[in-house]
């Protein structure tokens, strides 16, 4: 077995320098998952309560949504739910996939693919929420 010396070997030292220079994606990713997780507990439970407990699922019609979205407060609520749920979910998927995909090029592809997919989904749905015409009835 290799003996452990009192000072870091050159390999370890260069490795540290390399690591310090790297952007701490995983670190911010981890923090993001914790914070968005807390936000989602509030937002998703609130959403569940309103849609499934306080109201009967059968009364969840377009008219119900239209009435809710006459208020910009609810639109903002749904927008936040959308942003956090999609980004939290897709970042989670990225993390799981990267556990099993080891080829750096495939990893890069997966990252970009999920990022673009996430942005498109959020923008597209946000446009729908923002431009919904609540005056039709």
């Amino acid at each position: 077995m290799t003996t452990i010396t009192g000072t870091p070997s050159e390999g370890v030292t260069t490795r540290i320098a390399r690591l310090q220079a790297r952007t701490p994606l995983e670190r911010y990713g981890y923090l993001f998952m914790r914070l968005s997780g807390v936000a989602l507990i509030v937002l998703a439970i609130g959403h569940m309560m309103i849609q499934h407990v306080l109201n009967d699922v059968h009364s969840l019609t377009l008219e119900f949504v239209r009435q809710q979205w006459t208020s910009w407060g609810w639109r903002t609520y749904d927008l936040f739910l959308l942003i956090f749920a999609i980004s939290h979910g897709f970042n989670g998927l990225r993390v799981v996939l990267e556990d099993y995909i080891h080829n750096p090029r495939t990893v890069r592809f997966v990252r970009w693919f999920l990022l673009i997919f996430t942005i498109i989904t959020i923008v597209w749905s946000a446009v729908a929420i923002a431009t919904f015409d609540a005056s039709i009835g």
């Binding site: 077995m1 290799t2 452990i4 009192g6 870091p8 370890v12 490795r15 540290i16 690591l19 310090q20 790297r22 701490p24 994606l25 995983e26 670190r27 990713g29 981890y30 923090l31 556990d99 099993y100 080891h102």
Partner: protein, 251 residues
């Protein structure tokens, strides 16, 4: 943990299944099956393996040294969970049954060299990568004696000083199985032991190693490591403390 009934009677029969593999002869691993009569409930799995090796099949290969849970060299998968063979009693596995079925395999996630012996080098490579030694370039105190530390400061890393590097945690970790570039719980425990030592000055370097892509963030808080540790170290908690220090910058 439940109380084990103590008895000195040698009235147990053990159906022992051992995962065997000799790279020079076998194309694939196979199960060696051994029936052992007259086993005491106080016998350990290591005793059983010794009996097979010494009286039935001398080619059975395994690592062990102290036989008393101190050196950490005989961690293996016993009935599906990592444990030190020298600490695992037949009585604990019997669960009131006689005959007892016991299955022994090499620990997962490291290449098998022969029978129960795995290549520990990837494990120790991760261990060395966290600078697991005291770093302090300041001259020792003027009286030439020890660098003092308060009992409170000592307490911060007390748990992680207990590690014997048996690899039970790392080889029970699904994140490590999925990607062996992950530094693994044992190496994080070792880093923790020095990061929170008030006399040590290498914490910045170690935290930056811990913060890399294959450092603490690969931990998914599965808790297998905490369950597996024969020294009852709260491994997942130690990892969480390191994550917290990286996030807040506080040690």
């Amino acid at each position: 943990m439940s109380k084990i009934p103590v008895s000195s009677a040698r009235d147990y029969t053990v159906e022992l299944r051992v995962r065997r593999f000799n790279p020079e002869k076998d194309s694939a691993p196979w199960w060696g099956e051994y029936t052992l009569e007259g086993v005491s409930p106080n016998d350990t799995v290591l005793d059983l393996l010794h009996r097979v090796k010494w009286t039935m099949d001398g080619t059975l290969s395994l690592r062990r040294s102290c036989a008393h849970g101190v050196c950490g060299s005989d961690n293996m998968k016993i009935n599906g969970a990592n444990a030190l063979a020298c600490k695992m009693l037949v009585a604990r596995l019997a669960n009131g049954k006689n005959p007892v079925s016991i299955q022994v395999e090499p620990m997962a996630g490291l290449p098998v060299l022969k029978d129960l012996i795995v290549d520990m080098e990837p494990f120790f490579e991760h261990y060395r990568s966290v600078l697991p030694y005291f770093i302090n370039d300041e001259p020792p105190p003027a009286d030439g004696r020890e660098r003092l530390q308060s009992p409170e400061d000592r307490e911060k890393f007390d748990d992680t000083t207990k590690c014997i590097l048996c690899a039970a945690c790392t080889t029970s970790c699904p994140s490590f199985w999925a990607d062996d570039r992950y530094v693994g719980p044992a190496a994080i425990v070792q880093a923790h032991r020095f990061i929170y030592d008030s006399r040590d000055q290498g914490y910045e370097e170690r935290l930056s190693i811990m913060a890399e892509q294959f450092g603490v963030w690969k931990c998914r808080t599965i808790f297998n490591c905490t369950n597996a540790c024969p020294r009852d170290i709260e491994v997942t908690k130690a990892i969480a403390e390191v994550k917290m220090s990286i996030t807040t910058g506080k040690v």
